[in-house]
C-alpha cells in the first residue's frame, strides 16, 4: 500500500508515526500500480486515426461548399484530401490490429453500444462516397453521381469528424470519459482547422476566403472547448497539462491560433503566407489529437486519476445519504500507513 501526495512524484513518502487526519490531497494505491489497463495502441496509429478522420470529415464539407460556390480548385483538392485521409485512417486502424485479416470481424455485427462498431460502419459508408466524389471530379465521369456523392460525403462528414471523440470517451480512462461533453467539440474544431489548413495550402488566393473563415471558426471552437474541458475536469485536467500530453496540447494551441490568425490577416493576399498558415493549422491539429491520446494514456497509467475522483464522488454521495439516515456501517477511516 502506498500513500502519495497528489502534487508530487514522491510516491513513497514516509509518514511514520503521524496519526493526523489524512489531508484531502492524499490517496491510497496498491504499490502505486495503475488500477486500469492500457491498450496496445500505438500513438501514431490512433492519434493518426483521430487526425485523418477529422481531416476527411470536415474536408468533405469544405469540398461540398467549394463545389456549390464555384471554387473548383479547392473543391477538387478537398475531395482528394478526404479520400486519401479516410484511406489512411482505415489503414492506421487496420495496422493497429496487428493482423490485417482480423479487420473483417469488425463488420461482423453492428453494435450500437460500441462506438468502434458504429464508427466502422460509418467509415464503410463514408469512404466510398468520398472516393466516388474525388474520382468523378478528377475524371469528369458521371458528374451527377459525383455531385450526389459529394453531398452524401458532406452529410456524413460531421459524424466522421466527431464520432472519434465518443470512441475515446466511451472508456474508463478518466481524461477521456470525464471529458465526454467537450471532446466532440474539441475534435470538431480540430477537424475544421485541419481541413481549412489543407484548403489554405492547396487553393489559390482567389478561392481561399471560406477556408480562412473556417480556420478562425475551427480554432476558436477548439480553444473554447479545450479551455472548458480543462477547467471542468478538476485533478484529471493535469493529464492535459503535464508531460508529453501537456507539451502537445500547448504546441497545438500556439500552432492553431497562429495559423488561423495569420491566415485571416494575410492569407488572402500572400500565397506563401496562406500556405504557411495552412501548414501550421495542420500541425496544430496533429498535436491536438496526439495530445488527447497521450492525456488518456497518462490517466490510465496513474491510479491517482482513478481513485481521487471516485473517492470524491463517494464522499459526496455519502454526505447526501447522511442527511437521510445515519449509516450503520460507518467504517473507521484510519490514516493510510506505509508498508514496512
Amino acid at each position: 500500500m502506498t500513500t502519495a501526495p497528489l502534487n508530487g512524484g514522491k510516491r513513497r513518502r514516509k509518514r511514520r508515526g503521524e496519526q493526523t487526519v489524512v489531508p484531502d490531497a492524499e490517496f491510497t494505491s496498491y504499490y502505486g500500480k495503475p488500477i486500469l489497463n492500457t491498450p496496445e495502441w500505438k500513438p501514431l496509429n490512433i492519434g493518426g486515426y483521430f487526425f485523418l478522420g477529422g481531416l476527411a470529415g470536415a474536408g468533405s464539407l469544405l469540398a461540398a461548399g467549394a463545389t456549390a460556390t464555384q471554387r473548383p480548385v479547392m473543391a477538387r483538392s478537398m475531395k482528394i484530401t478526404s479520400t486519401v485521409a479516410i484511406a489512411g485512417s482505415a489503414a492506421a486502424l487496420i495496422h493497429d490490429l496487428g493482423k490485417p485479416a482480423r479487420f473483417a470481424n469488425m463488420l461482423r455485427v453492428l453494435k450500437p453500444t460500441s462506438p468502434m462498431s458504429v464508427g466502422s460502419w460509418l467509415l464503410a459508408a463514408y469512404g466510398p462516397l468520398a472516393g466516388a466524389a474525388a474520382v468523378s471530379d478528377l475524371t469528369g465521369v458521371l458528374p451527377r453521381a459525383g455531385h450526389a456523392a459529394t453531398a452524401g460525403a458532406a452529410l456524413l462528414g460531421p459524424a466522421v469528424a466527431t464520432y472519434t471523440a465518443v470512441l475515446a470517451s466511451d472508456t474508463a480512462a478518466p481524461a477521456w470519459h470525464d471529458g465526454y461533453r467537450e471532446l466532440p467539440f474539441v475534435f470538431a474544431g480540430s477537424a475544421t482547422a485541419a481541413a481549412a489548413g489543407t484548403a489554405l495550402l492547396t487553393a489559390p488566393l482567389r478561392e481561399n476566403r471560406p477556408a480562412r473563415h473556417a480556420a478562425l471558426f475551427g480554432a476558436g471552437l477548439e480553444a473554447a472547448a479545450t479551455h472548458r474541458l480543462e477547467s471542468r475536469l478538476g485533478i484529471v485536467a493535469e493529464t492535459y497539462r503535464k508531460g508529453l500530453a501537456g507539451r502537445l496540447m500547448r504546441s497545438a494551441k500556439v500552432l492553431t491560433a497562429a495559423g488561423a490568425l495569420a491566415g485571416a490577416a494575410a492569407g488572402g493576399r500572400n500565397r506563401g503566407l496562406a500556405a504557411m498558415s495552412g501548414a501550421a493549422l495542420l500541425a496544430g491539429s496533429v498535436c491536438t489529437r496526439l495530445g488527447v491520446f497521450h492525456a488518456g494514456r497518462a490517466a490510465l497509467a496513474d491510479p491517482k486519476y482513478t481513485v481521487v475522483p471516485q473517492r470524491e464522488r463517494l464522499r459526496a454521495r455519502e454526505a447526501a445519504q447522511a442527511t437521510m439516515a445515519t449509516p450503520s456501517t460507518d467504517h473507521n477511516h484510519a490514516p493510510p500507513t506505509e508498508p514496512t
Binding site: 504499490y31 489497463n37 469544405l62 453500444t113 462506438p115 477537424a191 473563415h213 506505509e338 508498508p339
Partner: protein
Amino acid sequence: MAAADGTGTAAAGGTGTREVTATVERMGFFTDTSVCIGCKACEVACKEWNAIPEDGMELTGMSYDNTQGLGASTWRHVAFIEQSKPVVPKEHPGQHQHQGDGAQSPQGEGPQDDADVFALAAQGSGSSELRWLMSSDVCKHCTHAACLDVCPTGSLFRTEFGTVVVQEDICNGCGYCVPACPYGVIEQRPDDGRAFKCTLCYDRLGEGQTPACAKACPTESIQYGPLDELRERAADRVEELHRAGVPDARLYGHDPDDGVGGDGAFFLLLDEPEVYGLPPDPVVTTRDLPAMWKQAGAAALTLLGGLAAAFATSGKPKTTRGSFTRRRP
C-alpha cells in the same frame, strides 16, 4: 439444475440436462479475503487449467506479490499488503481477535468463543502490530460489462451462467475493451494483440464443475456458486466479522445498485478497495453513452453550421472562370 449447485457434481442425465443449463442461475465467485493465506494455489490452478503463458519472471519487492496485477496472462492475482495498522482498532479494546480467525472455523460455525488466545497474543505487541492483507483478485464478471458493451465484433459475450467470456477466434485485437474495463482486468497479449481474461472456467461450468481457482483454494477464501446464495453467505460473514471485532470488514462489488450493476465476482475486504488496487466507485462507461452521442451530434451540427457560415460570409470567388462545376441540387 445440476450444473448450478456449484459443488462440483457433474451434470446428471446427459444431453437433456445440458439444455437446462441455458436457464441456470447466475453463477459467480465470492472471495472472502479474511481467510486468504496467500498460497497462490488459485493462480497456479488457473494457469494450468487454462494453459496461460508465462506472465513475467521478476521479483518485484512488493511483499510476496510477483504477478503485480490482472492482465492477459494473469487471470487470478493474489495481492499482498503489509500494513503497520492495528488489526483491531482502539475503540474495540475487549475484543482483540486475530483477523485470520475465520480460518480456524471457516464458513461461520457460530460465535467465536475461543477469542481469548488471540486477545492475549495481540496484547503482547501493543497497538502498532503489522497486519498482512492477502486477496485473490479476478475478473468481476460485471452485470453491466463495459468490455462486452464496447466490443465491436461480438467476441465478448454473456454466457448462460451470466459470466462474460472472450471468443478468441472472433476477437480482432482492436483493444477497445482494455481501457473500457473499470477494474483493469482484460488486456491484450503484446505478441498476439488479442484480448484475454478470466472465463470463470466456462469449459468447466458447462460440465457442472467448479472453476479451477475455487477448486484449488485450501481455505475456501474463493467460493463458487449461485450468486444469490453467495450474496447471502457474504452478508452473514460480514456480520460475523463485525461481531468478532473486525469493523473494517466490508463487501465490495456485492451491490446490484452500484455503478456496474453489481459484480458476478465480489469480495469481502478488510480495508478500502484502493488499498487492494481496486477502484473505490467503478462505473460502466457505457452508462453515459447516450449523453456522449448527444454531445457528438451537437458538435457535428456546430461543425456543419460553422462551415456553412464560413461559406455564407465569403460570397463568390473574386473572379469566376466559367461553370467548371454545377451547383448541387
